[in-house]
Symmetry: C2
Subunit: 367 residues, 2 copies
Amino acid sequence: MTHIEITYLINSLHSKELIDAIRVEQTIEYPFELAPTWIQEQIVGKVVSQKEFDKTRTEVTISYNSEITGFEIGQMLNVIWGNVSLFRDVKITKINFPDSFLTKFKGPRFGIEGLRNSFKAKKRPILATALKPMGLTSSELAKMAAIMVKAGIDFIKDDHSLANQKWAVWNERVKIISDAVSEANAKFNRNSVYAPSMNRPAEQILDAALKAKGLGCGAVLVLPGISGFDTMRAIADSDDFALPIMSHPANLGSYIMNPNHGFNHEIIFSTFKRISGADMSIFPNFAGRFSFSKEECLTIANSCRDKLANLKTIMPTVGGGMTLDRINEIVDFYGNDTVLLIGGALHRGDLLENASRFREIIEQFEN
Amino acid sequence: MTHIEITYLINSLHSKELIDAIRVEQTIEYPFELAPTWIQEQIVGKVVSQKEFDKTRTEVTISYNSEITGFEIGQMLNVIWGNVSLFRDVKITKINFPDSFLTKFKGPRFGIEGLRNSFKAKKRPILATALKPMGLTSSELAKMAAIMVKAGIDFIKDDHSLANQKWAVWNERVKIISDAVSEANAKFNRNSVYAPSMNRPAEQILDAALKAKGLGCGAVLVLPGISGFDTMRAIADSDDFALPIMSHPANLGSYIMNPNHGFNHEIIFSTFKRISGADMSIFPNFAGRFSFSKEECLTIANSCRDKLANLKTIMPTVGGGMTLDRINEIVDFYGNDTVLLIGGALHRGDLLENASRFREIIEQFEN
């Protein structure tokens, strides 16, 4: 029997009651004293350590038999945060998964090494951009994509807001942009990939991923906060699909924006994404228009590249209000094993010029 | 062109900048001044009203062209909360969907009227319970289910923690319990339904719902916070499936537990669930072991039963630490169009006796 250890920071005067509630609630959800002895002993969570910082702040680590997850992502999330999400003032600051749990998951198919091979980028950061704004036609977006290929952007994704709107419906858009990227790759001797957004209806999403591949897309963008972490895992696990996955943070702010509730950033943006098969995890850079601190960003990036049983390391993907004149500072901060995602800022002035400059700056890091 | 109006409560000294950021971020995510004029005018969100309560609290309503959702649940969630979830101190307190948007969705297939017909319950509340605890075998859970049928519990669901654990694997469990419920229905002249938990892997969930139906299950339990709201919609929309759906709040606490971030309770537990096809929405009762206030609970219940374009009204389903001696008070508070979900408390003492007493108390409300 191996165990998952979850550390909770509890901000409450009633930490004792809360701790008892959590270990029962997240397992048997049943009066403890009525459960058979073996269930009390082997299934209900057990406190393994506890530290009282002051009257209202207690840190507690509870261990759970990993069998209660059934070794599936959905039940893993349910054990970790299902009903406890409805308790006030409980924050999960750390999770230790045993290797015997993690080895049940394939995780990222490509990871840092696989991405470096496919982009023929030995040392430098990977360049990424987004096709936007919503409202442009598929052909307009395709022209934009061709410029990005010419400039040498490695990874060209749909803006995360592009779903199936009438201005550029999914089927048409993915074909037209994918064709434009292939053509431009041949013409300019590049190997850029186009990643359509997989914000598709649940019953179509796996087929849509295969369709994207069939149309020549080299990767996809998945929004696990909307489609579900396990949907991302299903796409990653598909041997018929077998392309890199970039994951987007949409809707995931709910889990990490509150100091006394939810999760530490790296659990959502690195650990869960990695177990669920993302090769790249987008998160907003500090000092952009979002609210992550420098430390939170670095913790995510480090966690993406830390050892985690058999799971490949993945590329932290930094985006959100980034500009060309900050690239050196950003690479210096995150290191080379990073994807730099610059969207809107490339459009101020001449797009080809800006995108080419982006590549030029990044090329320096190859040597 | 019709619009979705979203009201945000902003707790910040920088509300002006935040409001501009939100209306651009949730649409074009691109420098406003660089977008074509028609996109600025027709796609970017527009402030329709604004109220400053004090220096740090501003309420603003922004209207969005409903076409930007593509009339799909995934992109609806993305427009409403995608990137703004990563902003601090923004809470969504109200959403007005135009009828032209809502009529694109089928919503709940059964709703209150359909549930009343299938349970042959004209006026009384519906009785529900959960099979638990995790760790019991399928046969033990099936025996428990048969007792519930005998007592006259309408709706018998898997505990939400039952997924595919070795003690009662999904395929086996669903068959054994479903058989036991059918047998008991015949024997005791009841029409109880068994609802297995659909916490299944993403690529199997739709097939699993059909399998459950094939095995004789009369409904299912879906966890939209884990499987995704659109997955619930896909199950509800399937004409081959066509059974009632009870939705569980697991993981949804992230969206509603923080006074300055997320959503008002009824948006998540009523509006989103209803658009996504739930016939019953479980939420924790006030004064139980969770943290919802009396007012929050009532707002959810009322919203489940309010007019919402063409979408059927649904049954608020109250659970969490409820006991038999509180039923009269609870029905008095919520009204008869309610599902009462009592789990653990039925097991203190004799199960058949308690469950029969539960039915007996509820029967009074039929007349």
